[in-house]
Amino acid sequence: MGAEKLEVLFQERIDANEKIEPRDYMPEEYRQHLIRQMSQHAHSEVIGMQPEGNWITRAPSLRAKKILLAKVQDEAGHGLYIYSATETLGVTRDELISRLHQGKAKYASIFNYPALTWADMGAIGWLVDGAAITNQVSLQKTSYGPYSRSMVKICKEESFHQRQGYEIIAAMAKGTSEQKEMAQDALNRFWWPSLMMFGPHDSDSPRTGNAMKWKIKRESNDVLRQRFIDKTVSQAELIGLTIPDPDLKWNEERGSYDFGEIDWDEFWSVVKGGGPCNLKRLNHHKKAHNDGAWVRKAAAAYAKKHLNK
């Protein structure tokens, strides 16, 4: 069958909402688009362990420490589910990690912001995981089978993450005036970067066209961002915190909140490496990877020795 005919059949399958499986025909651009998006997603899960891992030793109680450990372990798991799913596209995990280390592959910019106080553990779970869930619920319907299945599994685990974060920030908002101030400060710092997690406006998102045509993405950046805002505002109000956006206003006609313009200069600057922690996050990942090299070597040698017996 000619390539053109195959592409027509492929698009017909997509239009009929069929899932594409690893051994099925797929256009090379579809494969490359998925490798880029899925590896970026996996890297985000893994790099995302750093701001929270930073607080494990300083968690305020044993209960909080156990929860945070479980959450960070989940994030590692999420990274691994998506790495495995990405490998079904014919790329190795080593290659994906090496692209991250060379700066050729990105991860979510939100993790380039520091986690300064314990209230940030609340804001991250509530807002960052909340934004990620909004995105991932939509991605459960993505056209690539292994990606879709990993999203289903991840979504089951994410609601624990968001609730534990909200519990932390709600507790602090109810605490002393100093604690409440910390909660408000965490919201102030994480609100706008959380909205940036959905990416540029649809009109400035060059790859959205193909991603929607191929049903890799099922809903646009702006639609998902609006959904996140609409469900989050009342959660802030309920615990007496104020969303740091003077333009935020309920729009009766649209049945949605209007909101202020995102600082896109900041967005692009962090994407391009200018955020407060870009260098730190990447260097830490490289160091952990290189420090673990002897473990991988030893395990390989041990397995080889036992195989030959």
Partner: protein
């Protein structure tokens, strides 16, 4: 990696792990796929041992079933009065 969610149910593919040997494969699989009581049983199989049907063979593999409708119980006409068969 295959998990049996309850005793008596079939094992279902859930994903994959990297490992150097069987023991590490099982440990990694446990850490990765059964953190919330997802399974009562677990199989880990080397990916290279799985024989998959190439999708381009789909027609010859799966189509012949379509023209044998008499394999389905609904193909048969029953006299009135028979309710459960």
């Amino acid at each position: 990696m295959f998990i049996q969610s309850k005793k008596g149910l079939p094992f279902k593919h859930v994903g994959s792990v990297h490992a150097f040997d069987k023991e590490m494969a099982v440990q990694n699989a446990r850490d990765l796929y059964t953190r919330r009581g997802e399974g009562k049983g677990m199989w880990v199989v080397p990916a290279s041992s799985i024989v998959a049907v190439d999708p381009s063979d789909n027609q010859s593999f799966f189509e012949p079933a379509d023209d044998k409708v008499y394999r389905h119980p609904t193909f048969y006409e029953l006299p009135d009065g028979i309710k459960n068969m």
